[in-house]
Amino acid sequence: MRLAITGYGVVSPFGVGRESWEAALAEGGDARARAFRGRSEVLEGELAERARTAEVWGFDPNEHLGDKGHRAFDRLTKFLIVAAKRALADSGLKPESGWVEGGPGPTDVGVCSATAYGSLDAITELNRVAELEDPRYINPARFPNTVINAAAGYVSIWEDMRAPNTTVVDGNCGALDAVLTAATHLVHERGRAFLVGGGEVVSEPLYLAMRRLGVLADGRTDGQGVEMGEGACFLAVERVGDAKARGARIEAEIRGYGTAFDAPHSEALLVCATPDAVARAVREALAEARLAPDEVDVVVSSVGGIGDVDGAELQGLAAVFGEDVAVAPLKRLHGETFGASGAFGLAAALAWMRGVTVGPLLRGRAPERVRAAVVVSVGFYGNVSAVALVASE
């Protein structure tokens, strides 16, 4: 597998665009305080006061999309479109002036987008009407938002991208699995470029569900408990030859992907993560990338505050890399973004390769120059995915 990453776009608690993202990575701990800055803008009432969430603060879609045509979109759709717009511009595929003559055009560019709970708030919005008023009163213009792939579909519509549009739902592993989806589409020549990534939003039903499950950090800052985040991130990926042919800046190459699944040993359990699945996924990605473990400089981990899951990940990583490799707990910076988290991990790895130190680290020390990175996503239900990437020559 050789995929060129030629740019990316981010909507995060630090703002819109890669600049604010990379600045936050460089800030480290100080940026965390900005991500979890206080009263929720998404949740209401008692929840708004109590919740500690990393939200896309002050997000104004009009600022990025104009004031028309997006009234029926949900928050996720707006995030995705803005991230896509930024990734298209950053990669040079579609600057503000539109598609580039002679370059990939509308029928050549597609979307591979991941989410875990993307349509949940839209479903809740309509269920509220259906349950508390009358199902005959639900707003038909908002009904499409209840369909999981609609948000990614709107991205293609907004930006006129007619190559395949694929949505992936794999819990926390979605965005990394979307990398394989794009690689598959590219190798089969179903398009010339794909936006790969995903999005997630803070919502009342998701927050309440996590609270009810007792897994939220609820103000703890010792790494125990989930801290919810939100945002969207898309990376532009192309075949290396195509990217070179159009003179694109290649920031890094994705060289390998691996995935694995283990079920719990007890029939009574559902949540599961095993060191073995982590190790298998990572080794598969390394083998495809033709990288030895000691050639990997940094690992962007999936560590997200659930003790057993985090423990399995760290054990699995140690089994592959030993204890010395640098491991970054990116989610401590900007929260758990579930299906989108792998995309943020890739964006952090890219920044690291550009000399932006991602810290503080869980363990190990990163070399001054990062040439090879592995991004890992660990699901709550036994699945693990990993992507290996190397810096551009």
Partner: protein, 415 residues
């Protein structure tokens, strides 16, 4: 590149369980439409759907599986068990990292979410049982299935609305061809939930009485549910264990209309691109296609555009066409998976199920329709056509074994 074969099929449908009941109902034209039983539809001006009747998880699942799954996953697992049995796969064939589970859906465990939210909204957060919450996750659909068979490879959910079955089947075939899996359990599952029903009513997409695909009097769809599961295997796996092959998976095509979130492109641009890609990636030209299992929803726009696209692709030589939706209803994410099973039965048995309720030809919507009665035909290659919310278009080709040319190996070419 590796050939991919279908060795097992399993069905939970509005017209019965298992492909024997399913196939018989399709050929006999026994519609699954009936007054809705699973929720109170009396307030709506549409009250008919193609529900799966009499499905009990415990008839197919262990007690522990039944406890942790919602209806959508339970139907998928039940159909998967049927497909695995049909394929003659033993636990030792499926256990391990070389088995993938890739499933499509539109909304996954919509019933579970509906129940959870109803409890929350009427009785408060504290009335929601934490043990019920994880049953909602859409990501769990393939995980429940993988767990049941000891599969430890790729698990993936592809929510592609009403094209989800084709998306999943196509992508599963990709992964076997690429050598990332030897066996894939794939297909799709969907349940009817009151909210979806209300949504389609509010969109004005529901037929007042019956679904009439391609008929001039067509006035919409009848919503359905179910699960269609295929076992796909690499040629090497088939040879190694001496498996019986039902069909070969050809190429597939995907495209995005990028036009409107619910309406098809007025010229069928994406649909045409996807259909062309399915044919060319199978190493065929349009003249090789004997039969098209149409998307055929019975909505005015879909059927007209689908007919238009078929004329553009096939010219005057229109292949035989039918729409299973006149019998099964529109089973949303599961639709193209169930229709894939129908395609495979047609390839195996040489019988094409009828499109019911066809009475008045529409000069703007002419297809070579197998109308009202099943027809015997020699069918070597079929296209399974689908389209979906989001502007998704997906078409998968299936063929009788021995018909397709050797597939290309783009991964090797890329390397």
């Amino acid at each position: 590149m590796r050939r991919v074969f279908v060795t097992g099929i399993g069905v939970v449908s509005p017209v019965g369980f298992g492909h024997h009941e399913f196939g018989s109902a399709l050929l006999e034209g026994r519609s699954g439409a009936a007054p809705i039983q699973n929720f109170d539809a009396s307030g709506f001006d549409r009250q008919v759907a193609c529900e799966v009747k009499g499905f009990r998880s415990r008839d197919f699942l262990t007690a522990a599986e039944a406890r942790r799954t919602g209806r959508c996953s339970a139907m998928a697992l039940a159909a998967a068990r049927m497909a695995v049995e049909e394929a003659g796969l033993k636990p030792e064939h499926l256990a391990g990292p070389r088995t993938a589970v890739i499933l499509g859906t539109t909304m996954g465990e919509a019933n579970v979410l509906g129940e959870l939210e109803s409890t929350w909204l009427h009785q408060g957060e504290s009335s929601v049982l934490p043990s019920h919450l994880p049953r909602y996750g859409t990501t769990l659909l393939p995980i429940h299935v993988a767990r049941a068979f000891g599969a430890r490879g790729m698990v993936q959910t592809m929510p592609a609305a009403c094209a989800a079955g084709n998306y999943a089947i196509g992508y599963a075939s990709d992964q076997i061809r690429a050598g990332r899996a030897d066996i894939a359990i794939t297909g799709a599952s969907e349940v009817i939930e009151k909210l979806q029903f209300a949504g389609f009513v509010r969109l004005g997409a529901m037929a007042p009485d019956v679904c009439r695909p391609f008929d001039q009097q067509r006035r919409g769809l009848i919503i359905g549910e179910g699960s269609g599961i295929l076992v796909l295997e690499s040629e090497e796996s088939v040879v190694r264990r001496g498996a019986t092959v039902l069909a070969e998976v050809g190429g597939y095509g995907l495209a995005c209309d990028a036009h409107h979130i619910t309406r098809p492109h007025p010229e069928g641009e994406g649909s045409r691109a996807a259909m062309r890609a399915a044919i060319s990636s199978s190493g065929l030209d349009a003249s090789a296609i004997d039969f098209v299992n149409a998307h055929g929803t019975g909505t005015p726009a879909n059927d007209k555009i689908e007919a238009h696209v078929m004329h553009e692709i096939f010219g005057d030589r229109l292949p035989l066409t039918t729409s299973n939706k006149s019998i099964l209803g529109h089973c949303m994410g599961a639709a193209s998976a169930l229709e894939a099973v129908s395609c495979i039965l047609t390839l195996r048995d040489g019988m094409i199920p009828p499109t019911l309720n066809y009475e008045t030809p529409d000069p703007e919507c002419v297809v070579n329709l197998v109308a009202n009665e099943a027809r015997a035909a020699k069918v070597d290659v079929v296209l399974n056509n689908s389209a979906a919310f989001g502007g998704y278009d997906a078409v998968v080709a299936f063929a009788r074994p021995g018909v397709l040319p050797p597939p290309r190996d783009p991964w090797a070419e890329a390397a």
